[in-house]
Symmetry: C2
């Protein structure tokens, strides 16, 4: 393998791979270093039975994620819509109800309350700058309270506030007291709207990958050949006058620039020489990840469908508060995707594997009936336990962080540039954001070395 290139990229997630593609297309030499034995980062597909691929990581695409759809097309990948037919169920105040469409029947007052909150959040979100949230009109004020505080102040129903906490867990995998209102608003704007973040049809959960979302990463990595180096965790990046030397367990690699395309909290664990400036280091100290355990229960068939159910369930009671039908396109086997998110992921993460499996299946039974007990196989991934991710879906910004340190998020430090979905302006936290960030970082370094 060549040990010198124009650009050395740290991380073979979608951000790093997209950057690599852009740099190769510009006729420049690239090396991509990846800590894991696989590409894809937070996107990870597994064949759990012949021809049955499940996504244990990111799995959905939705409207306005244009770069991702374009890449799907370019790579000749196949998508299919998330199963949505029939009625959904909501478990609310100890009772199970069926409903159709987007809005569960949890009482008129709560629905009006949530509707108003959503409208307010969307209106405020539109005022938050995607490029410099810290410079937005009410930045300091909105960065000083959490989403939970905002809901406590402006919402009138308990059920409505529980709805906001479900939103927080489903979208951030964190509780609404863990990040600022400004971050919530930025994220909503970044992902188009509140509705767009939470919706299946017409939203971020609309489409799935027939061969698993990791096929996107595999498609990007294939042309790299031996310019991609797996099992090469980066320990240190040294900058000299005109070069960046990237040290791994398998030796050093030198570029005119480096792109660090991993989450800030992991980027902060690399040893830099010279050391990072204060703002950059303190930014990486301040961006914890959410917590999610993605659980998949397999059944001989999607039994809920014959009962006229979509398999989608939401709940005001944990630990599982969100279930999707995650069966393959042909409907066999039946697969339920149960999310343990935020506090539930942390609590259940401390259980034994068997206890956790039981807790998850108990929830499926509660929402979808006794047949849910007859699980043929069970798969789970606790993303907080993954040494090269350490939590999903991404970083959230606690109060004060955007306004104190946000300006350091994308600012290059010498020959080191930053990518990764946390650095995106559109669809931060999603595959689309990762792709945007890779393209932007590639443009930065191409300009610098031209």
């Amino acid at each position: 393998m060549n040990r010198e290139a124009d650009v050395v990229i740290v991380g073979a997630g979608l951000a790093g791979l997209m950057a690599a593609q852009e740099i190769v297309r510009a006729g420049r030499e690239v090396i991509v270093l990846e800590a894991r034995d696989r590409v894809g980062g937070r996107v990870f597909s597994q064949e759990i039975a012949p021809d049955v691929v499940v996504d244990l990581g990111g799995q959905w695409l939705g409207p306005t994620q244009d770069r991702a759809y374009a890449l799907v097309k370019a790579l000749g990948l196949e998508l299919f819509p998330t199963y949505q037919e029939g009625e959904h169920v909501v478990f609310h105040q100890g009772r199970l109800k069926r409903y159709q469409g987007a809005i569960p029947n949890i009482g008129l007052r709560a629905l009006l309350d949530i509707g108003r909150a959503q409208k307010r959040l969307d209106t405020m979100a539109a005022q938050v700058s995607l490029h410099a949230p810290w410079d937005s009109p009410h930045a300091r004020e909105w960065d000083s309270i959490t989403l939970e505080q905002w809901a406590a102040k402006t919402m009138s129903t308990h059920a409505g506030k529980r709805g906001v906490s479900l939103f927080s867990e489903a979208v951030f995998a964190a509780e609404p007291n863990e990040f600022s209102l400004l971050h919530t608003l930025f994220y909503i704007h970044s992902g188009t709207s509140f509705d767009s973040l939470i919706s299946t049809q017409g939203g971020a959960q609309q489409d799935r990958f027939a061969q698993g979302a990791q096929s996107l990463a595999q498609g990007l990595s294939e042309p790299l050949g031996d310019r991609l180096c797996l099992n090469a965790p980066v320990r240190k990046i040294e900058q000299t006058n005109d070069r960046a030397h990237v040290h791994t367990d398998s030796g050093a690699f030198t570029g005119k620039c480096a792109i660090v395309a991993i989450p800030p909290t992991l980027a902060g664990r690399i040893d830099y020489s010279p050391p990072m400036p204060p703002d950059r280091d303190q930014l990486t100290q301040s961006l914890p990840h959410g917590s999610v355990i993605k659980c998949m229960s397999l059944y001989a068939e999607p039994f809920w469908r014959e009962r006229g159910l979509s398999g989608m369930a939401t709940s005001d009671t944990g630990p599982v508060r969100l279930i999707y039908d995650n069966s393959p396109a042909n409907g066999t086997p039946g697969i339920l995707l149960s999310f343990l998110e935020g506090e539930a992921a942390r609590t259940c993460g401390r259980m034994s594997q068997e206890e956790r499996r039981q807790a998850v299946i108990d929830c499926s039974v509660r929402y979808l009936g006794e047949r849910a007990r007859h699980v043929e196989a069970f798969f789970e991934l606790n993303w907080s336990a993954e040494p090269w991710t350490r939590g999903c879906y991404g970083a959230h910004f606690p109060t004060g962080v955007w306004t104190q340190f946000g300006h350091a998020l994308r600012a290059p430090v010498g020959r080191i540039h930053w990518a990764g979905t946390e650095t995106a302006t559109r669809w931060m936290g999603y595959m689309e954001g990762a792709l945007e960030s890779g393209i932007r970082a590639a443009q930065e370094v191409l300009e610098k070395i031209s």
Copy 2:
């Protein structure tokens, strides 16, 4: 140097050194590994002229810091009281006022407002458990809002709220919107009371070290001889069945246990094998440090004293909002200690050295008169730029962190135990807390290997 011992300690700050002393006293073998070329960590003294020692790091002791005073006595070190004679000044709403005693004259309404807030905080603080803040009666509620939010809700004057932000900057080196009310209350309880944290006489700023506070660390480290290894940053800790292998740039060291006695955000940068469990890793992702640049201006003499001033100044206007007379015991030369804290440290940290020096001196002139312009020498240390500290005074806990991850703060992981002032119950963030944590961690490992 011996490469095997009963216990390998990471970090030769006060916590690590205190742990080492306890282990040696118990007749066990110890190795202490330190990344820097010196001991002391956040305690760092420099001889800036013959017989003139200044503390660029932690420097004060106060009542109830019993372990620290006992150690001072055991090592035969000399203390002297922080200079407090004469009148203090306060710069308030564009005007400079002199005052005596603890309470600046900023108007009766503001004083009452602050007094009430202080009393409320003390009362609530007493309800927060020092060993398990997350289990306190109102933990979830108090962990969901920031100190700033609490002040906005309960205080009635602008000047009073500015007082709370000065408290936040002086005690946490962070803005009051960066950490939770629960953390504030824990910290107040941990340091006895609000008053105790902010006071000179009778409080945490009462006594200074004649030879600099680092003499405490030096006194502890001396008996270690070659059991202390400097310039040895720890990169990896590997646990096997019955040993912990600690890897540094100068080779590996093996113990039956390891004590990691560095701040959580730095402990999180070590590569652990097997990897840390989710809660521990996410805790270390969530504990950013405050920001402080400690500045010292030298004058031929302490000119303010002859004008009947103590040299102490507080201000509602930055960047310097807090000044102390930091002259040696004999009063020569005159030294003003100016703090850039929280947001001011970040903003001024981006200036050139000369601009920053000018901004600091301009503040001294504003508070203490024209003679403050005639600085003979100027010293500063930006603790956020120190690769082996990355911010002072210590870690603060953003909203949600104590209740979600607090339980992982001291919980040993296999053969790895945790020390450092952030793990203390009493005087967290202070030298005293570091000593407590070292003793506690030493007891844990001695019990385990006995």
